[in-house]
Symmetry: C2
Subunit: 342 residues, 2 copies
Amino acid sequence: MPVTLVEVAARAGVSPATVSRVLNGNYPVAESTRQRVEKAVRELDYVVNAHARALLHATSGIVGVVLNDASDPFFAGIARGIQGAAAETSRLSVICNSEGDAEQEFAFLDLLRGHRADAVILVGAAPEDEEYRAAATTRAKGMLTTGTRMVLCGRPSPGEDAPGHVVEIDNEGGSAAITRHLVELGHRRIAYVTGPDGRTTTTARLAGFRRALADFGVEADENLVVHGDFSRQAGREAVERLLAAGRDFTAVLAANDLVAAGAVSALRAAGRSVPDDVSVAGYDNLPTAVDVWPNLTTVHVPLEEIGRKAIELAFGPADPQTVVTIPTAVVVRDSTAAPAAG
Amino acid sequence: MPVTLVEVAARAGVSPATVSRVLNGNYPVAESTRQRVEKAVRELDYVVNAHARALLHATSGIVGVVLNDASDPFFAGIARGIQGAAAETSRLSVICNSEGDAEQEFAFLDLLRGHRADAVILVGAAPEDEEYRAAATTRAKGMLTTGTRMVLCGRPSPGEDAPGHVVEIDNEGGSAAITRHLVELGHRRIAYVTGPDGRTTTTARLAGFRRALADFGVEADENLVVHGDFSRQAGREAVERLLAAGRDFTAVLAANDLVAAGAVSALRAAGRSVPDDVSVAGYDNLPTAVDVWPNLTTVHVPLEEIGRKAIELAFGPADPQTVVTIPTAVVVRDSTAAPAAG
DNA sequence: CGCGTGATAGAAAAGCCTTTCTACGGGCTC
DNA sequence: GAGCCCGTAGAAAGGCTTTTCTATCACGCG
């Protein structure tokens, strides 16, 4: 049913080869012939079959982006950067939601490999267990044999032997910096609401928090570390639990801005004023950070830039195994202040 | 370089046909043969070439989603629904950001057609000019000849003659309902901050606003209608302009929740309390609506459900031209109240 | 004992485009 | 006027998998 190149050729009264050459413009074709062919293409509303083309070229013009959840603004920001940069190399980006499930992630990886994706970009924190590491390394090697470039974005390389470039976010540094900000304001009892357990990002951010406290000689109270995930809901519940347990704290540091937003609403519901009674700080500087009142002090992460960088690494000169670390910066807004006296 | 089916066949000591049959499981193969083949597949880490397969089937297992901006929570929500539902039919969703540019949108459409996408889902408001309508109709017809199903989501059909299903959002009804809510609270001077000009969604929501006012016999003051786009920035600036011009209003109705969030922050910056001095209402019930303080009164739009519905229409029994209208519902929260006396 | 039958496997064609190789005219040079 | 080269176009192969059609083998039955 779909129109083929052969039909176009017949209509234009030329050979298939000529039509192909007009379409690709990589071979001289007489002006009059060209026009006849172009007319036939228009009249039949013909588009080349990308599969037949890819079959010859072993390339598809597709960039796969595998992430946890495209509706999460963190991923959305990075994906946006990737799409923009990929489009500039006239490639089509495919976004795949793995829902944080390793099984699904691998399924997508195989699917993309089957489609001979030019590159696959894995975005976001990875599970930390050994089994996942091994499986990921195998997959990464497989990608190479299909000529698919791999870039890891916001997660460390699964291992020395795994091929692929890496765009890392300075999570530990940023987390340490914002902790420092709180300590310098005078906070000593700081609650920390983590991201999901066993994820690289969670671990790094928590480590930065602990390191900064240690640097100042502040003792970390493990009762003030509450585990959650990267959602508003988690932020709300974590703070509710802290309050219910009667914990004493003057600041809450959240795994990201969504969690911070949840924390703010829980504090408000409990009649605590932010930042007068309790300071709250987030991470990522998501658009939401300025919707929350008071506007969130947070750590800026240049999401789109990270995405662009990933594409740059994927299609740039192929030095094997480049690792780029994206710096972060504390953004002070209205949700943090010196603790109330006493 | 990539492993082919023929190589797998050679290694397993069988014919290519047999390998294909093991892989697809659609033809009896002796158990011992199957095992040999599976071993070879594992050892060579083989994945079928999706292009060669698609070349035969004239189908690709891909669903194209074309939208303005995947990082906008409105689109993200719908895309999420689409992805989930598409995955259940084991199809891969491709998200394409058109950035609201018709040129790019058409480029993606052609690209997807070239890839023999099983379906293409166009999400979000469309330009209202005749030229666009005509071009869109042509494209839609072309899709049919390639066997690609078309679904329009959150936009009306470009015309009677254009094929494809439609999932419409009851924008006018929702807008009228929330306007009614404000009028019933006692508001008479209501400012309206629109979405981008010349877009179907903008027009419909504005029409609902006007209709509801007319129903109550409230005269609409055109000075209170300010044009913007669907961003926080637009909401902020619109309200700043209204205030600077010394306009008198007791409520602001925004084209969506992001705009409403911007409006709230502009009002707060100007020392007006929400909802005591001015009520604010949004649209879409985005996650952000409950981050804003006070939590936004808004119109709930079931985004994921819309996405799922789109897939259902695309791959369900192919009645031509189904139109489904998704109802909306007012959600009253804390950003609206009766106007101050006097 | 020959042949039909069922189970399994192979051969070959098809699907659509690109690209190399070949062919054909015509103008130019000597 | 003969031989060449250039510009242009066609023929045909190649790329990878699926699927139809055919072949083989073992077995059982008449």
